[in-house]
């Protein structure tokens, strides 16, 4: 067991090199509270990480009813014992003294402590009143990527068939909507094609807008171990920042923000021009290649070089590596998903694999990554703007099948339009047609774009806001009812990571005070609302995590995300298992599409597709004629200039992103001493050139302003392309005097004060990486001052 002194400074730990095709060696990381020895731990309770999307398996150390540490699980396929810094230290947040322990209700403009009966009574009274006066469309739910599967599924049933509203989405809209949409566009259905084991086999690993070193430290450790071993893979990195990934790359392309599609079209152009394409694969498994070839015909490296401001020779070099790969692995994350033309660009990464015929074999995979630990479950359970089990809202047979599972009439399930996405839910709340918004486990008052607008929506007198969380977040402070929730380690449930690995996370300790598991809260609400099925029996018949899991298994049967071969007992015996897991594939499924495309048939697909530029729906008839045999759809898209471009007043591009030490809005990580000390406050990054051009120096206090708002931050000069300013998005106000907003008459701390309200028309994912900004001096640096965190982010 390795308890390294400082995994803050070295997030990836020591190397365990290995060669291609060899199993990744184990390395067991652990961290126990000071003064607690391993033999003093009374119980090790199985769980998995809730602070990123990698799904690292771990055991929680319990002593005298308290969590006292964690240990990575060496037998698990995902992490082989390793843990990243957030997991090694993050468990301490559970025991923070400021956890919510009682429900709060708003009285005379203030939130006051109350009891469950009063709080739930108010929610139920408001729900019934709205249903009666305005119908189900007046109630909305905004959930997260951090609950468990059983909770999402229960929420999906109560919202879609209980209330009958179309307005249920997750903050997964901000992190993983484009991943899901890109998979639907290409393969007809959601479902991660690749597996983390593809890292063990790949000879080229292309990372598109994916700072894996900070977002998934353990997965990056796997890459570093390959790089340190025999026959290392060659990484290709697309990122405007000189990230730890870029430092290892054979080619690093740093395009202007908002130009990913132009770059990808040029890569495809080169691969087609040099005839590095697999015609047999294209003929057997795809439709639409001719359209792509015509679409990228004029997208030469020289053309893209002008748009992206990247040397044409670098684009050619990258195309050479990708075109020459024998086992190509690609990963995609927020640099693509939260940028202009998000889905169109993510789809072109799928196309790289289709034209090269590299899918389904060892090392040949696409990983359209997730940003949150259970984002995958939000998607599959239908808590995020999809119907449960990847069912197609445009397919009446799918809706009828779902109605059969729930024993309701099909009309009870709204399917006249796609489930409403989060940004539109907030728009309806702004306009007043949504009168109640129930927010679970997320913090829109910090995480959504253009915060002054979001705060004004949440603060509206007519909008009844319920916030269900661990702490008095910025959002909770604006709520009318606050429900104290239990979290990881205090409740049981399943969570599924970005490569479809399902883990069971078991209850280790009691939640504080009167805090309750989210599942119990939803079940309580369903019982109080007395939701019934078509025979008059309770709509939701389950009562605990395991019975909820079994209900979900029935809903998943026969669909791509089939869980019928799993059980709590099986997950307890071993460790993570990848879905689909069925009687026929009892050990799970490492890779999808090993033998052609499985779920694109018009009768089974989750989506008939959309126009990649406008987002307009493709109708069933069109899809049937385009793709009658259910092949992968090679979709082309033309590059369009970004919606908000730089100007004389706002000469820079603002991009926001994560840092290795924090998660989401720091609700947990900001309360962990080691993590907080590593990155206690917001900073801004500019290149040394750009800083000099703006008359600024490293360490200056600056204001990053856009037409919508401003942030005050210390400037760091780092390796980032000229013309771009970077802000980490984690920081908000709960640990400042104003509590939930910037101080009066002053700039804020949350990056989203200035971000633009704009989203990808296809995936509806907000664009956090395409705003015009300016950086101005507030005060020169104090001489002798030093920045605290230098592990994270880009470097000069």
């Amino acid at each position: 067991m390795v308890d390294e002194a400082d995994r803050i400074k070295n997030p990836w730990g020591a190397r365990t090199p290995y060669g291609p095709g060899a199993p990744w060696p184990t390395r067991t990381d652990a961290h126990l509270a000071p003064g607690v020895a391993a033999h003093e731990v009374e119980r090790w309770v199985p769980s998995a990480s809730l602070l990123h999307s990698n799904g690292d398996a771990m055991d929680i150390a319990v002593r005298q009813g308290r969590i006292v540490g964690v240990r990575g699980r060496a037998t698990d396929r995902v992490n082989r014992g390793r843990l990243g810094p957030k997991d090694l230290y993050g468990w301490q947040a559970n025991a923070s003294p400021d956890r919510l322990t009682r429900p709060l209700v708003r009285e005379g403009g203030r939130l006051v402590e109350s009891d469950w009966d009063t709080a739930m009574g108010r929610i139920v009274a408001r729900s019934k009143d709205l249903l009666e006066r305005h119908g189900p469309g007046s109630i909305g739910f905004y959930t997260t990527g951090q609950l468990f599967l059983e909770e999402y599924y229960t929420l999906a049933v109560l919202a879609r068939a209980g209330i009958g509203t179309n307005h249920l989405d997750g903050n997964t809209r901000l992190c993983t909507a484009t991943a899901a949409e890109a998979l639907k566009q290409t393969f007809g259905c959601d479902g991660q094609p690749g597996s983390y084991e593809d890292i063990d086999h790949a000879d080229v690993i292309a990372l598109f807008g994916h700072n894996m070193a900070e977002t998934q430290t353990v997965l990056w450790t796997r890459v570093l171990d390959r790089l340190a071993g025999a026959e290392p893979p060659r990484p290709v990195c697309v990122d405007p920042r000189h990230t730890p990934v870029a430092r290892q790359a054979a080619v690093h392309l740093a395009p202007r923000a908002g130009t990913n599609l132009a770059l990808l079209n040029a890569l495809l152009h080169e691969i087609i021009r040099t005839d590095r394409i697999d015609r047999d694969y294209l003929d057997a498994h795809t439709v639409g290649f001719a359209e792509l070839a015509a679409g990228v015909e004029r997208c030469t490296p020289q053309w893209a070089a002008r748009i992206c401001d990247v040397p044409a020779a670098s684009i050619e070099h990258a195309a050479e590596l990708i075109g020459g790969a024998e086992r190509l692995l690609s990963t995609v994350l927020q640099g693509v998903y939260q940028s202009h033309q998000a889905t169109a660009a993510a789809v072109q990464v799928n196309n790289l694999h289709l034209v090269r015929g590299m899918l389904g074999g060892p090392g040949c995979g696409v990983l359209q990554m997730n940003g949150q630990p259970s984002a995958q479950n939000t998607r599959e359970c239908g808590a995020d703007g999809d119907l449960p089990g990847f069912r197609n809202w445009q397919n009446d047979q799918h809706v009828a099948d779902l109605a059969r599972v729930w024993n309701v009439t099909p009309e009870r399930i709204p399917h006249y339009a796609p489930p409403t996405h989060a940004m539109q839910i907030f728009r309806y709340a702004e306009q007043g047609s949504i009168g109640m918004l129930w927010i679970t486990g997320t913090n829109p008052a910090v995480s959504l774009p253009e915060l002054s607008r979001i705060r004004s929506v949440l603060a509206k007198e007519e909008l009844f806001v319920v916030a269900q969380d661990l702490f008095a977040t910025e959002t909770a402070q604006l709520a009318d009812v606050v429900l104290p929730a239990a979290t990881w380690g205090e409740k049981t449930g399943v969570l599924t990571n970005a490569d479809r690995t399902v883990h069971l996370s078991e209850k280790a300790v009691e939640p504080p005070g009167e805090a309750r598991p989210d599942l119990d809260i939803f079940l309580d609400y369903a019982a109080r609302m007395d939701f019934r099925d078509k025979d008059g029996d309770p709509l939701i018949a389950w009562h605990d995590p395991e019975s909820a899991f079994r209900a979900w298994q029935r809903c998943s049967a026969g669909r791509p995300c089939d869980y019928t071969g799993l059980s709590y007992d099986r997950l307890r015996e071993g460790s993570g298992i990848q879905w689909p897991c069925t009687e026929r594939a009892p050990d799970g499924t490492a890779r999808l599409y090993t033998d052609g495309i499985t779920w694109a048939d018009p009768d089974t697909c989750e989506s008939y597709g959309k126009d990649l530029v406008t987002g307009a729906s493709v109708e069933e008839v069109e899809y049937r004629s385009l793709n009658p045999h259910g092949r992968a759809v090679v979709k082309a898209a033309e590059y369009l200039p970004p919606h908000e471009d730089t100007s004389a007043d706002f000469p820079l591009q603002l991009i926001t992103g994560r840092t290795v030490h924090h998660f989401h809005t720091r609700t947990k990580t900001g309360r962990v001493p080691e993590l907080n000390a590593a990155a206690p406050d917001v900073w801004a990054e500019l290149s040394p050139n750009e800083a000099a051009r703006q008359g600024l120096s490293d360490g200056d206090l600056v204001q990053v302003g856009t037409p919508r708002g401003a942030v005050r931050a210390r400037l760091r000069t780092t390796g980032i392309r000229d013309g771009i300013v970077f802000l980490p998005f984690h920081y908000g106000y709960w640990d400042t005097p104003a509590g939930h907003r910037p101080p009066d008459h002053s700039a804020g701390r949350a990056a989203n004060e200035g971000t633009v309200t704009d989203w990808d028309p296809v995936s509806k994912q907000p664009l956090f990486k395409t705003a015009a900004a300016r950086v101005t001096l507030v005060a020169r640096r104090d001489t002798g001052a030093r920045n605290t965190s230098e592990t994270a982010g880009s470097r000069t």
Binding site: S138, N166, Y428, Q431, V613, T614, S617, H643
Partner: protein, 163 residues
């Protein structure tokens, strides 16, 4: 004037009008952000169509002006912009949005039918230049129609029922 030149002229005017209407809708619905951004993007297609129609028109002895030099609905003053935003946050603008989308859809449909006529005439006369033009532009007009239709389909239930 032949039927072809008459159709070229009316389509050229139709594309000019649609560009302006898309930009007007984009300005009016700036708090419906997707409408604002996508309508602006789609106006570029109509602008390009008007340019190409004017270019091709010369081969038919037509002197078409091409797109308007500034098709935007007039620079909004800061005050007007604020007013549009404030107004945009009131519920009754929902109905206005649906009506605007309806008009955009009808205008695009009108253009689409003219593209259809031109393409048919081009086939009948083996006019490759005209066929190429219609082949390049008509699909984008159809995409403008699909977009307005999709937005109407998605927004109507909420804007007509719950507001």
């Amino acid at each position: 004037m032949t039927g072809i030149t008459a159709t070229l002229r009316v389509l050229h005017d139709g594309e000019r009008t649609l560009e302006r209407d898309l930009l007007t809708a984009a300005a009016r619905h700036r708090t419906d952000h997707e409408i604002h951004h996508v309508a602006t993007d789609l106006s570029r297609w109509s602008r390009e169509h008007a340019t190409r129609l004017a270019d091709v028109g010369r081969h038919y002895d037509l002197d078409l002006p091409g797109p308007q030099s500034d098709a935007s609905p007039g620079a909004l003053t800061a005050l007007k912009e604020k007013a549009a935003e404030a107004l945009g946050r009131r519920p009754e603008t929902g109905l206005l949005l649906l009506y605007d989308l309806r008009e955009l859809h009808l205008a695009a449909t009108r253009n689409s039918l003219h593209w259809e006529m031109l393409a048919q005439a081009a086939q009948a006369t083996s006019d490759d230049r005209l066929l190429g033009l219609a082949g390049a532009c008509h699909p984008q007009t159809l995409r403008q129609m699909r977009w307005t239709n999709t937005m109407i389909k998605e927004l109507s239930p909420q804007l007509l029922v719950s507001a």
